[in-house]
């Protein structure tokens, strides 16, 4: 099938196209420079055209979501919407914990085509991939949790970094994972005994290994393997006043590590939801923003990128492999607490969270997130996320964009809506930045694609994947800086005019018109097969002793990942 998107106003930061009125040509599943006369014309004159949205950190599939849905029927009830009349998309259910099909519908309608599931324990990876099969319309890479894995801890403790490299290479194949995720390294293992670690250099009680050692070792391995994405780090001490110092140390602890030469990305570490890691003070009473120091570091250094984890003012659900932090929240709020410890690998926790614009702490968190958006100068280093659903559900991205594009709106919120901690305890009030569409396209498309190492998307150059979103926004006429336009802007971004993925129209005028199976994106390292076999033969007895399922039944069978995109990575050997 061929399409011409006629006369849209195109924002494609990677190719330096900044609001140019032009045609986009699609043939089959790629962007081309010309099409035949049979191509179908879609008139999008003057409308906003961007590459398909790319989310590099969201929680959409796997055990945490299942537990969340199971124990929060009151959240499911909130998002009930009967099926559309066209008989294509079914009912929707859930607000912060949407059902699998609902996740696909809502992301597609927002113009997103790639969404990363940010935390999958290998033991339950089948579950995550099975759920992905129930989410329609997206490309989904999954990040595999390694930051508290016993084999990893052992190799780091014994400084067997070659074994670690082979282990990671093999485990990504077993979990059909895309990249390395580190969550509260050593802390979630300490939670096995109801404990946590305090900062980057506090050794885990049994293994004697620190977060710093884990992050450094896994970053080295990541670069040796040359994985398309860097390590993806949720640093220690999430949500604790005073944690900005740990975050700063974490930023700096990998600076000396050399980036693999064959990768497209610039960073060697991606720090996720930095908003939750940027607090000064000693308690929630004297807490203040630590964003400035972190922003300053990010502005001065090029080896790291971040996403925000913006708070929206909603009743949502927090979920993370940082289980000790969730228990802290339980102690703080008394709301119903869920926890799941996963043998040999990780832990996870959940709790409902109510962020209110009148609650000082919520407002501080909200303002800290916005400080990052305002303060980080290079939009390629920062990505729009809410750590969905932790800061708020992903359907709030358009609302956040409406804040970023209008100082008038933001100022009005500061003056009239939110608690005064936003102005008293953060520097948010000192900024007067307003995002342009080009910058929005960078933080929601081009940037995350580059950071993930997915070079075929996030842009509309010839040869790119034909993932395009068009919104019913007349770029030249519609003034996004006006407060009075915020709500309209949000609604238009929530309901795209067209969402095109792989050259197929999935959304038209805010309605889903086609459902396709989601694509599992995973990384396959070539060149270490023999070493992997030797390693497995060696560790299998240990595996079968400490896991409760057999090694032979552990990996994700191929039929769980149909269709898939296997990203082959050629291991280049030691440099």
């Amino acid at each position: 099938m061929e399409y011409i998107l006629k006369n849209g106003v195109v924002f494609d930061p990677k190719n330096d196209i900044d609001g140019e009125q032009m045609d986009i040509f699609i043939k089959d599943n790629v962007i081309v420079d010309k099409v035949s006369s049979k191509a179908k014309k879609l008139d999008v004159s003057g409308k906003l055209v961007m590459p398909g949205g790319v989310d590099l950190h969201s929680h959409i599939a796997g055990p945490k979501l299942s537990i969340g849905r199971l124990y929060r029927p009151e959240d499911i009830r909130k998002g009930i919407k009967p099926a559309s009349k066209n008989d294509i998309s079914g009912f929707e259910a859930g607000f912060s914990l949407p059902t699998c099909p609902t996740i696909g519908y809502r992301y597609t309608k927002m113009g997103y085509t790639t969404v990363t599931e940010a935390a999958v324990p290998p033991l339950e990876a089948k579950h995550a991939h099975e759920e992905i099969n129930s989410i329609p319309n997206l490309d989904i890479p999954t990040l595999t949790l390694f930051g508290n894995n016993w084999f990893m801890l052992k190799y780091v403790k014994e400084k067997r970094f070659d074994d670690l490299k082979v282990f990671i290479s093999k485990w990504l194949k077993l979990a059909k994972g895309y990249g390395i995720k580190i969550v509260n390294p050593c802390g979630s293992e300490a939670w096995g005994w109801g404990k946590n670690v305090d900062g980057l250099d506090d050794p885990e009680p049994h293994w004697g290994v620190t977060g710093r050692e884990v992050i450094q070792a896994l970053t080295e391995v990541n670069e040796k393997l040359g994985l398309p994405h860097s390590v993806h780090v949720h640093t220690n001490d999430l949500g604790h006043p005073g944690n900005y110092a740990t975050t700063l140390e974490t930023f700096d602890c990998v600076k000396h590590i050399k980036k693999n030469e064959n990768v497209d990305r610039n960073q060697i570490m991606h720090c996720t939801h930095v908003q939750f890691h940027a607090y000064k003070g000693t308690s929630w009473r004297d807490v203040s923003s630590g964003a400035s120091e972190l922003i300053d570091y990010i502005n001065k250094n090029d080896h790291l990128t971040c996403d925000v984890g913006q708070i929206t003012f909603d009743e949502t659900t927090t979920m993370t492999a940082d289980a000790p932090m969730e228990y802290d929240l339980f102690r703080l709020t008394g709301l119903k607490w869920a926890n799941k410890d996963i043998e040999v690998e990780t832990a996870s926790g959940l709790i409902p969270s109510i962020y209110s614009s009148h609650a000082p702490v919520s407002v501080l968190q909200w303002a800290v997130g916005l400080e990052f958006f305002m303060g980080v100068k290079d939009p390629w280093k920062i990505v729009l996320t809410t750590d969905s659903p932790n800061g708020g559900p992903f359907i709030r991205y358009p609302r956040i964009i409406s804040w970023l594009m209008s100082q008038e709106k933001l100022q009005d919120m500061l003056d009239n809506e939110v608690h005064n901690w936003a102005t008293n305890r953060t520097d948010l009030g000192t900024y007067d930045r307003e995002y342009s569409w080009n910058e929005i396209a960078t933080i929601t498309r081009a940037g995350p694609a580059k950071i993930l190492g997915l070079t075929d998307r996030g842009h509309l150059g010839v040869g790119a994947k034909a993932d395009v979103s068009v919104y019913d926004i007349d770029v030249d006429k519609f003034d996004c800086t006006l407060k009075s336009n915020s709500e309209t802007l949000e609604n238009k971004l929530l309901n795209s005019k067209y969402t095109i993925k792989d050259g197929e129209i999935l959304v038209k005028d805010g309605n889903i018109v086609k459902l396709v199976n989601s694509n599992h994106i995973w990384c396959n390292v070539l060149g270490l097969e023999n070493e992997e076999k030797v390693l497995i033969d060696r560790i299998k007895p240990e595996f079968n002793k400490y896991y409760t399922i057999k090694y032979e039944n552990y990996g994700v069978n191929d039929h769980y990942i149909q269709p898939d995109t296997r990203m082959d990575v050629n291991y280049g050997g030691e440099l």
């Binding site: 124990y71 029927p73 009151e74 009830r77 709301l335």
Partner: protein, 262 residues
């Protein structure tokens, strides 16, 4: 004042769902429109007229002035007055699940018994049940920790298990007896029970008031007798007789108050 009379002409063993039969939705509708109003029966949608004869008396401009009177055997009619905001509904029969649940205003009178979930998560209005109610009256729906928050429920006979679970506000008056776990997880509001109360009432109670005029089984260990008072004034109302005031539940460091007539 406008009165919409519904008289059941045919009973269905599969429950009918009455969410659309509310004063605010029908007060300005013609007889034909009311006849055509959709009710739900299993997986089918049917017009009201398949099961009810409809007649209208009087006129009104405001839903508050509208009353719906329902006659017939309504023991298989669910969701009467569900999410009602104003006006009046009188059901001259036993009724099925969810009567007055999520209602925020208006007045419902049930001249009979109610199935479970009566007045669940109610925020305002008055729900009066002349017979008994089954389980979860005035409670929260699954998973929700904020149950009934306002309004009033009066039950002239008995209440089933888990009355007012997770209640955070409003008033409930049970004139008869009450089954196990009344006011469990309660954190606000007031329950008065005139009859006997089965065990484990007030479990995990954080705040709120329960007044019991009948006999009780043994109390949970997390409640302590604070004092005994003659003719106490409770929430602005005087009660006659000697009452013991208990506080608890200690298992949740609760400050709930239970008054029990000696």
């Amino acid at each position: 004042m406008k009165v919409i009379n519904l008289v059941m002409t045919k009973k269905s063993s599969i429950s009918l769902e009455f969410d659309n039969i509310l004063p605010e939705l029908l007060f300005d509708k013609s007889l034909r429109q009311i006849n055509e109003t959709i009710i739900y029966r299993g997986n089918k949608e049917e017009p009201l007229s398949h099961y009810f004869d409809v007649s209208i008396e009087g006129e009104c401009d405001d839903a508050k002035e509208c009353a719906i009177v329902i006659d017939g055997d309504l023991s298989r009619v669910k969701r009467i007055g569900f999410a009602m905001t104003c006006g009046k509904i009188i059901a001259n029969s036993d009724v099925d699940f969810h009567v007055g649940a999520c209602m925020s205003g208006g007045h419902i009178i049930v001249n009979g018994d109610a199935e479970s979930y009566a007045g669940r998560e109610m925020t305002g209005g008055l729900l009066e049940i002349k017979g008994s109610v089954k389980e979860f009256c005035g409670s929260s729906y699954a998973g929700e920790w904020r149950g009934m928050s306002g309004g009033q429920i009066i039950v002239h006979k008995n209440a089933g298990k888990q009355l007012a679970e997770y209640m955070i506000g409003g008033n409930i008056h049970i004139k008869g007896d009450c089954d196990i776990l009344a006011g469990v997880h309660m954190s606000g509001g007031k329950i008065q029970i005139d009859g006997n109360v089965n065990q484990w009432f007030g479990g995990q109670m954080k705040k709120g008031t329960i007044i019991i005029n009948g006999n009780v089984e043994k109390m949970l260990p997390g409640f302590v007798l604070e004092e005994s008072i003659y003719h106490p004034l409770i929430n602005g109302k005087q009660f006659i007789g000697k009452y013991g005031l208990y506080s608890g539940d200690k298992t949740v460091k609760g400050k709930g108050r239970i008054w029990i007539k000696k």
